[in-house]
């Protein structure tokens, strides 16, 4: 096993965080031991989220988006997972925290909205009971109080006739309503941090728009910090303030929505943007997908993990792409992990990428 991070980089990271953000993840690595070898699902990842803001994490399947957030919630099986680094929620260290501590936080201070509400909700219990369960556990409320709270939450997320729908089972709800119920469930204890893992992927565009609006409204009302995991750059553009693009368990580009979508600087982000047809772009030219397929996380390519699929690696002097892993630089603001020089990136983007995006 190689060392996690270059020591000077890690030290600089810690030194740089003078004011502590609400959620701060530093040098997080998550590894799973499997029969085939060690899967490095997340590798030396750092990010932070402030209250009242939304961070969009974008990437393809297997890029480590979900694994990162399950690590924040402490939901990995400790027997087969090795987690290193630091996750601080409001100053409290979560990596290595005892299970009891995490239990107090989960559902209370931090909560999760899952992708598929039909599998995340229990078919045997009424919606009201499932919403109230979390509330009772964390506040010690009575059954009656929990039911009232469930009705209140259902009203808040816009379920019609909440007093009768509270006794319905999940199968009696439509897809959009189930996702609303899931949101009600995650917000029942007024969490400070909500992790939404592909909350609208299973939904139609019209319902997706409703759910994203709802999340935004509730965030404004309660000042929640949201981590939105998605593969849809459109969804991020509509809801988030900051974006982190992940590839093979690492952040390859980070910045505000405007910086990353208007002036992307990493070849992978270029590839993602030119793979997506838009509603207004030209139709008679083929899309420009990223070549090849994502790498195996057991046998990562040496150097930059994106180098086998990158169109621009010949332009890097000294062939550093296959030997040296690029760090995410600069420390703050709009950052990319790529060996191309700032000038090269800017000119490639303006000359080759921007005209294609229309």
């Amino acid at each position: 096993m190689t060392t996690l991070a270059k020591p000077e980089e890690a030290a600089a990271d810690r030194g740089g965080s003078s004011s502590s953000p609400f959620l701060s993840v530093r040098d997080l690595s998550v590894r799973f031991s499997t029969e085939d070898g060690v899967v490095r699902a997340v590798d030396n990842l750092s990010f932070s989220v402030e209250p009242g803001t939304t961070l969009g994490i974008v990437g393809e399947s297997g890029s480590g988006k979900s694994v990162t957030n399950l690590a924040v919630l402490g939901l990995h099986n400790p027997d087969s997972t090795e987690i290193t680094g630091s996750i601080r929620l409001a100053g409290q260290e979560l990596v290595g925290a005892p299970v009891r501590e995490l239990e107090k936080l989960r559902g209370n201070t931090m909560a999760m909205i899952f992708q598929d509400p039909l599998t995340a909700l229990s078919p045997f219990h009424t919606i009201g009971k499932q919403i109230g369960e979390t509330y009772r556990k964390h506040t010690g409320a009575s059954k009656k109080e929990a039911r009232d709270r469930a009705i209140e939450m259902l009203t808040k997320v816009g379920i019609p006739q909440p007093t009768t729908r509270v006794d319905d089972y999940p199968h009696q709800f439509s897809g959009g309503m189930r996702q609303r119920a899931m949101i009600a469930m995650s917000l029942v204890c007024n969490p400070k941090l909500v992790i939404a893992d592909e909350p609208t992927t299973a939904l139609d565009v019209t319902v997706q728009a409703q759910i994203l609006d709802l999340l935004k409204d509730l965030q404004q009302e309660m000042g929640t910090a949201i981590i939105l995991i998605t593969h849809d750059l459109g969804v991020v553009a509509k809801t988030a303030q900051d974006i982190m693009v992940m590839y093979a368990g690492r952040a390859v580009e980070r910045g505000t929505v405007r910086e990353v979508l208007k002036n992307p600087q990493h070849p992978y982000t270029w590839g993602l943007l030119s793979s997506m047809p838009s509603l207004t772009g030209p139709v008679d030219i083929p899309l420009r997908p990223v070549r090849g397929t994502p790498p195996s996380l057991i046998n990562l390519p040496t150097g930059c993990p994106f180098n086998p699929r990158c169109d621009h690696r010949e332009q890097v002097v000294g062939g550093k792409c296959t030997t040296e892993r690029p760090p995410l630089a600069p420390e703050t603001g709009h950052a990319t992990a790529c060996h191309l020089s700032v000038g090269q990136k800017q000119s490639i983007f303006i000359d080759q990428i921007q005209p294609r995006l229309g």
């Binding site: 019209t206 979508l261 509603l279 008679d284 997908p289 397929t293």
Partner: protein
């Protein structure tokens, strides 16, 4: 596959001449049964409820709509995996509405299907060679040079290594599996391919690879496509004509330019406005639709969209709007609405998400 290919500019108007596939008033209702001992029909799911649609040779027609609008059922009716309840289905001048298995056999080889899920649509116990060769074996076709040769040719066409002939589906990634599905659909040199959400299970970058592959094949082999998807931007990229379905009916159909630039049906307008674009400067006003799609067991009277439409009036509840060419529309742009949009129509006041 080269990235530098350019595609011919598709014509905006539907192709002339005899259509390859013709649907007129096609309906598919599924019975709803009830009763303990003696089952009796208590209703029907009006999955597809009177569709008129032509697909010409060499053309790609897109079919969009929310889940439950009947677009997949329509795809299955076209391939005759389902028998229509009513209406007429014509393929190359031949009525196949109620054709028997035997009568269908020669036609089936010309209409192929690509499925949504590349994991469940390939038999895990068969090798890729067996999967792609099966259609030829079933139809008793012995291509020149043998089946294996043809299969390897097909693998190459879809951008896979021909030497992977003996591998099993689990050795391939999602995008590669979808390519295997495409190769299987191509094995009988079909004239029409029904692609039911062929890329929605794939990652963005892989999605683009498969869309490019399909587009290349359409151009090279002149196959007509019925492209079913819920992603409006992909449909726009792939199809020359696009039909929008709502609750078993086509509410608007037009060439892609007219449909995406000047939609006349409020539903089309709302759908388009709900698509999030990856552009922080996108200032399009979004129409927030109220509630969910009504049940197809009991579709609303009159216009089916009226329960969610912000323009609905009394007339909409009593009279069903016909699918016609409105004044000001190009040829072939048909809309089913009593109070169509005119492009400058004011967008309704946005309401708080909670009220919806």
């Amino acid at each position: 596959m080269s990235n530098e290919l350019t595609l011919d500019k598709p014509s905006a108007t539907p192709a002339t001449g005899e259509p390859l596939l013709q649907l007129s008033g096609v309906k598919k209702h599924f019975p709803v049964m009830d009763g303990l001992l003696f089952k009796r029909q208590v209703g029907a799911v009006h999955a597809v409820d009177g569709i008129d649609l032509d697909v010409h040779a060499n053309e790609s027609v897109g079919l969009v709509g929310e889940s439950g609008c009947g677009k997949s059922t329509l795809g299955r009716v076209v391939t005759r995996l389902l028998e229509p309840t009513d209406g007429k289905l014509t393929y190359a001048g031949q009525d196949i509405t109620h054709a028997s298995r035997k009568q269908l056999a020669p036609i089936r080889s010309e209409i192929q299907m690509i499925f949504q899920d590349p994991y469940s649509s390939l038999n895990p116990r068969h090798t890729v060679g067996a999967i792609i060769g099966a259609p030829m074996e079933i139809n008793g076709i012995n291509p020149k040079g043998g089946v294996q040769n043809r299969v390897q040719e097909l693998l190459e066409t879809v951008g896979l290594n021909p030497e992977h002939y003996n591998r099993f589906p689990h050795e391939f990634s999602g995008g590669q599996r979808q390519r295997i599905g495409v190769a299987r659909a191509l094995s009988l040199s079909p004239k029409l391919i029904v692609a039911d959400e062929p890329v929605s299970a794939l990652d963005v970058s892989i999605q683009a690879q498969v869309v490019n592959l399909l587009q290349q094949l359409q151009k090279d082999l002149g196959i007509a496509f019925l492209f079913i998807a819920h992603d409006l931007s992909i449909v726009r990229h792939f199809s020359q004509r696009v039909a929008v379905m709502y609750l078993g009916k086509i509410v608007e159909i037009a060439d892609r330019k007219s449909l995406y630039e000047s939609p006349r049906h409020p539903y089309t307008h709302a759908l388009l406005s709900a698509v999030p674009e990856a552009d922080p400067d996108d200032v399009r006003e979004r129409i927030r639709l109220v509630g969910d799609v009504p049940s197809p067991i009991n579709p609303p009277t009159g216009c089916r969209f009226r329960t969610r439409c912000w323009k609905a009036q009394d007339k909409c509840a009593t009279e069903e709007p016909p699918l016609v060419q409105l004044s000001g529309n190009l040829d072939g742009h048909l809309t089913a609405c009593h109070f169509p949009e005119d492009g400058s129509t004011a967008v309704p006041e946005p309401r708080a998400a909670k009220e919806l």
